[in-house]
C-alpha cells in the first residue's frame, strides 16, 4: 500500500502531534505514524483504559492534544514501525501492527522521532531489576505498576525527579537518588532559571514532594555496581570524582539508571540530512534552521530528535515547522504576530534548556568521569557480550572499526543502548552509521513488499 499525503509526520509525541494538528487544521492532508499502539509518545503516554478510569490521566493536556489531532482529520497510524527508505530516497518503508508493509510519501516529511535514554554500563547492569528511569516512568504512568518495592534512581539530569515522584505516588519506597552532578545547590547559574517561573515551579514541586517523603538525594554520586543473585538486591555508589571507590551501599530491589536522553536521529541520517556534533552534548544532531528545516528542503526535524529540550520546546518546534510548511504551501506567511509569539516562546525555552543543561554535567564530562573507572571485565554491549576491555584494546577512535573487530553494536538494539559507552571507550565521537533496516524488520513484511508493485 502506498500512502501519499501533503505531509507525513513520523512520531506521535508532543512535537509531532502539535505539527500534525496545526497542518491538518489548515486543510493539508496529514498522516502521523507512531510505533506505539497509542499516540502520545513518552511524555504524553496514554494510561491503559482501566488505569485512566481508576486514577485519571496524569497529563490531561496530552489527551486534549491527541483529541485535537483526530478532530482535525489527521490520519493516525499507530503501531507502525518505520524501518527503511526506498531506493527513490523519499518513500518511507514501514510495517503496520499486523506486519503488513506500508509505503508513505509526503511532499514534506516531519521527523519527530524523539529520543532514547542515555545508558552507561556498570558491573551488574544485566541483573533483572536494573532498568532505566524511562521504563519505570512508563510502567508507573501507563500501567500504574511500580518497578519495585524499594527503588534507587541514579544517573544524571532533571528527569530523575519526576520519576521519583511517580514512584512515590504508587506508594513505593524510593531509597534514594544518586545524581552524578551537583545541581541542587544555590548558585549564580541557578538564578537564571528564576526567569522561567512555570518551569522552575515544576522542578521545585518535585523537589518539595521528595523532601516531604524524606527521599535522600546523593549529589556527586554514581553507581559503582549492582549486586544480587537472581535480581538486584543492593546498589553500591561511588563519588563521581573518584568513581572506583565505594562510599555507600543501599538495599534495593530495583535500580533505574539513566544519564538523560540522546536524540534519535537514525531516520534523519538515513534520509541524508546533514548532522553535526552538538557542542554541549557531543551527540549527533541534525542541522536545522529555526523552523526545523534540515539540509534536505523536504525534511523537517523537530522535537527531541533535533536536540533535547523537553516537551514545551518540542511543542514550540512543532508549531514553528507547521508554520513554515504552511507558508510554503500557501505562499502566505503565517500572520506575523503568531509567528513572533512562537519564535519568542521557542527562544525563551531554549534559554531555559541551556540554563538547566548548565546545572548538570555534560555527556562529555560524564564520559570523562565514568570511562576510566569502568572495569575491563564489565559487559559494555549486552546484545553481543562484548566487554569494556575488548573495546579498549587498540582503540583507534573509530567506532566502526571497533564494531567490526568486536561485534559491539551488531545486535538487536543496533547500538542504541551501548553507543554512548562504545564511543567513550574507543575515544571516538562518531556514531554508528544509520543503515536500512533502522529497526529489525519481519521477513514476512519484506516478502509482502517484494510482491507489491512500485518503488521499494
Amino acid at each position: 500500500m502506498i500512502v501519499e499525503r501533503d505531509v507525513v509526520v513520523v512520531g506521535g509525541g508532543p512535537a509531532g502531534l502539535t505539527a500534525a494538528a496545526r497542518l491538518a487544521a489548515a486543510g493539508l492532508t496529514v498522516t502521523i505514524l507512531d510505533e506505539q499502539p497509542e499516540l502520545g509518545g513518552q511524555y504524553y503516554r496514554r494510561p491503559a483504559p482501566e488505569v485512566a478510569r481508576r486514577w485519571g490521566d496524569h497529563r490531561r493536556e496530552g489527551g486534549e492534544l491527541i483529541a485535537g489531532v483526530r478532530a482535525a482529520g489527521v490520519e493516525c497510524r499507530t503501531g507502525h514501525l518505520v524501518w527503511g527508505l526506498a531506493d527513490d530516497d523519499r518513500t518511507l518503508l514501514a510495517e503496520d501492527e499486523a506486519g503488513r508493509p506500508v509505503r508513505l510519501r509526503g511532499r514534506h516529511l516531519v521527523l519527530a522521532t524523539g529520543a532514547y535514554e542515555r545508558s552507561f554500563p556498570f558491573p551488574g547492569w544485566q541483573l533483572p531489576g536494573v532498568t532505566t528511569p524511562g521504563f519505570a516512568q512508563h510502567l508507573a504512568a501507563g500501567d500504574h505498576t511500580p518497578i519495585g518495592e524499594r527503588v534507587v534512581l541514579a544517573g544524571s539530569g532533571p528527569f530523575l525527579l519526576p520519576v521519583a515522584c511517580s514512584l512515590l505516588a504508587l506508594g513505593v519506597k524510593v531509597a534514594g537518588i544518586a545524581e552524578a552532578g551537583t545541581p541542587y545547590r544555590p548558585g549564580r547559574r541557578a538564578l537564571g532559571t528564576l526567569r522561567h517561573p512555570a518551569r522552575l515551579r515544576e522542578l521545585a514541586g518535585y523537589a518539595a514532594r521528595l523532601a516531604r517523603a524524606r527521599v535522600p538525594v546523593w549529589q556527586g554520586a554514581v553507581v559503582l555496581r549492582a549486586d544480587g543473585h537472581d535480581r538486584v538486591s543492593s546498589v553500591t555508589l561511588a563519588a563521581a570524582g573518584r568513581p572506583g571507590q565505594a562510599i555507600r551501599t543501599v538495599e534495593a530491589d530495583a535500580l533505574c539508571v539513566g544519564y538523560g536522553f540522546r536524540p534519535q536521529t537514525d531516520l534523519a541520517r538515513l534520509l541524508g540530512c546533514e548532522v553535526t556534533a552538538d557542542p554541549g552534548t557531543g551527540d549527533a544532531i541534525p542541522v536545522t534552521d529555526p523552523a526545523g528545516r534540515s539540509s534536505r528542503p523536504d525534511v523537517y526535524v523537530i522535537g527531541e530528535a533535533a536536540g533535547i529540550g523537553g516537551a514545551p520546546t518540542a511543542r514550540a518546534r512543532g508549531l514553528a515547522a507547521a508554520h513554515d510548511i504552511l507558508a510554503r504551501e500557501t505562499g502566505h506567511p503565517v500572520p506575523p504576530a503568531e509567528a513572533r509569539r512562537v519564535a519568542t516562546a521557542a527562544r525563551r525555552l531554549g534559554h531555559f534548556t541551556a540554563l538547566t543543561d548548565a546545572l548538570y554535567p555534560s555527556p562529555a564530562q560524564l564520559l570523562d568521569a565514568l570511562v576510566p573507572a569502568l572495569a575491563d571485565s564489565t559487559m559494555a554491549c549486552r546484545c553481543e557480550s562484548v566487554t569494556a576491555g575488548e573495546l579498549r584494546a587498540d582503540a583507534a577512535g573509530d567506532v566502526n572499526a571497533a564494531k567490526a573487530r568486536t561485534r559491539a553494536g551488531m545486535g538487536p538494539c543496533q547500538g542504541r543502548v551501548c553507543g554512548f559507552a562504545v564511543a567513550g571507550l574507543v575515544r571516538g565521537g562518531a556514531v554508528f552509521p544509520s543503515r536500512v533496516p533502522i529497526r529489525p524488520v519481519r521477513m514476512t513484511t519484506l516478502l509482502e513488499l517484494a510482491a507489491e508493485d512500485g518503488p521499494a
Partner: protein
C-alpha cells in the same frame, strides 16, 4: 625516506596474506592503508570458502565466470586454508561443514550435472542429489529445490578475524602496518620504487598493489592504466537464531548464498548490487536488491521466513571486466605486482603465497600466466591491441 624490501598498498585480506608470507620469509615489509585495515571488501564479504565450482552470476553481472578455469585455483586455495589457523596461531572460525549448490529448473539441473563433470576432472569430490535426496540431507531446503550438488569441503571463515590474524602474525615477523595513510605518489627510479603515503616515504624494489576497488587508481599513480570494473554489492544478516544450519547453500542460476555464522545470525548474500559504488565513503544498500535477495533466500530456505532482518551492508568488489582473477607482475614495470578480482577471499592464502613467489622471482605455485595484468592494460606502448 626509509628502505624496505616490499611495500604493500592495501591492508585487506590479500595484502595481509602477502605481508605474512613475505615477512615470515625474512623480507622487510611496510603495509599502507587509506583507512583502518580490512574494512572494505575484506571486511564486508560473506566469508565463504568456495571449493565446488562457483557458478552463481551476480544480478547485473555481464560476463559469466569461467568456472572450469577457477577449479584448480580453488582446489589449491582450499588446501592452503587447511593450515591457516595453525600457521597464524589464531582462530578465524574456520569451518568445513560442506555446502550445497541447488537448482530449481530443468536447465539449472543440467548445468549442475555439467559442473559436476568439471569438478570430477579437477579432482574436487562432489555428489549430485535429486530434490528429495537434497532435502533428506538438509531438511531445511524448500520444495522448489529439484537438485543439488554437495561438496564436503565448502566452508567459511570469519572475514572480520582473518585479516586481523594475518596482520598480527605479520607484525610478529616485523611487518609494519601504517593505517589511515592514503598513498599519494609512486615513482620508479631504476630498480627502486618510492611510495609516499601521508608523511611516510618508503623505497623498495617491490610494490604490491592489492588496493581492492582502488587497485586501478593506485596503479595509475605509477603511470599504469588497468581496466578494472569495481562494483558494490550487499549482504544481509538476520537476528540470531538457534544454530540449525551448518552448511553453505548457494544457487546455481541466481544470486544466492546463505549460511549461519557462529553467532547464530543467517548471512544472506549472492552479489546483489548496492545502489552505487561510493569510493569516498560507504556505499549505500539498495532496498530493491534487499527484497530480491531475501525473497530468494526464503524460497530456497523457508525457515528464514520466521526471522527478522537485522542488518544490511554494502562493500566493494574489485571485479575485472572478464570476471577472472588478476595476479601478476605488470609488464615493463619490474617489481610492480598486482592482485585482485572476485573471490579474493577464497583465494587469499594462495595469492599470498603466489605474491611471495613473484616478489622472490620464484615460480608460482599454480599456473597464472593467463591471469596477469597485461590483458587489462589499455594505454601502454608494448601491449596495445592485446586486450581480450
Amino acid at each position: 625516506m626509509r628502505a624496505a624490501d616490499v611495500v604493500i598498498v592495501g591492508a585487506g585480506v590479500l595484502g595481509a596474506a602477502a605481508a605474512w608470507q613475505l615477512s615470515r620469509a625474512g623480507h622487510r615489509v611496510v603495509i599502507f592503508d587509506r583507512g583502518a585495515p580490512g574494512r572494505e571488501g575484506s571486511g564486508t564479504t560473506a566469508g565463504n570458502l568456495h571449493v565446488q565450482a562457483v557458478h552463481t552470476r551476480r544480478p547485473g553481472q555481464e560476463v559469466p565466470i569461467d568456472s572450469a578455469r577457477f577449479l584448480p585455483l580453488q582446489r589449491a586455495a582450499s588446501d592452503r586454508w587447511e593450515s591457516v589457523e595453525d600457521d597464524l596461531g589464531a582462530s578465524v572460525e574456520l569451518r568445513r561443514s560442506g555446502g550445497f549448490t541447488i537448482a530449481e529448473t530443468p536447465d539449472q539441473c543440467q548445468e549442475l550435472k555439467e559442473k559436476h563433470t568439471w569438478e570430477a576432472a579437477a579432482g574436487i569430490p562432489t555428489e549430485v542429489l535429486d530434490g528429495d535426496a537434497a532435502r533428506e540431507a538438509l531438511p531445511l531446503l524448500g520444495p522448489t529445490v529439484t537438485a543439488a550438488t554437495w561438496c564436503a569441503s565448502d566452508g567459511y571463515a570469519n572475514p572480520l578475524k582473518v585479516t586481523p590474524a594475518y596482520l598480527a602474525a605479520a607484525a610478529g615477523h616485523g611487518a609494519e602496518l601504517v593505517p589511515y595513510a592514503p598513498v599519494r605518489e609512486i615513482a620508479r627510479r631504476g630498480g627502486t620504487w618510492r611510495v609516499t603515503a601521508g608523511t611516510h616515504t618508503v623505497a623498495a624494489p617491490v610494490v604490491i598493489d592489492v588496493a581492492g576497488p582502488w587497485l586501478g587508481e593506485i596503479a595509475a599513480l605509477a603511470g599504469i592504466r588497468l581496466r578494472m570494473t569495481p562494483v558494490a554489492i550487499q549482504m544481509h544478516a538476520t537476528v540470531r537464531a538457534p544454530v540449525t544450519m551448518s552448511h553453505l547453500v548457494q544457487h546455481i542460476g541466481e544470486g544466492l548464498s546463505v549460511k549461519q555464522v557462529t553467532a547464530g545470525n543467517l548471512l544472506i548474500g549472492g552479489g546483489w548490487p548496492a545502489r552505487a559504488l561510493n569510493l569516498a565513503g560507504r556505499s549505500v544498500t539498495s532496498v530493491d536488491s534487499l527484497l530480491g535477495n531475501v525473497a530468494l533466500a526464503v524460497r530456497v530456505l523457508p525457515f528464514i521466513r520466521d526471522l527478522r532482518l537485522l542488518r544490511a551492508w554494502a562493500g566493494p568488489l574489485a571485479a575485472t571486466p572478464d570476471e577472472m582473477p588478476l595476479i601478476g607482475e605488470v609488464p615493463g614495470e619490474p617489481g610492480f605486482l598486482v592482485a585482485g578480482g572476485t573471490y579474493a577471499f577464497t583465494f587469499a592464502p594462495l595469492w599470498g603465497e603466489t605474491l611471495r613467489g613473484l616478489a622472490e622471482g620464484a615460480p608460482p605455485p599454480v599456473e597464472i600466466a593467463d591471469l596477469g595484468p597485461d590483458r587489462l592494460m589499455t594505454q601502454t606502448k608494448t601491449h596495445e591491441g592485446r586486450q581480450r
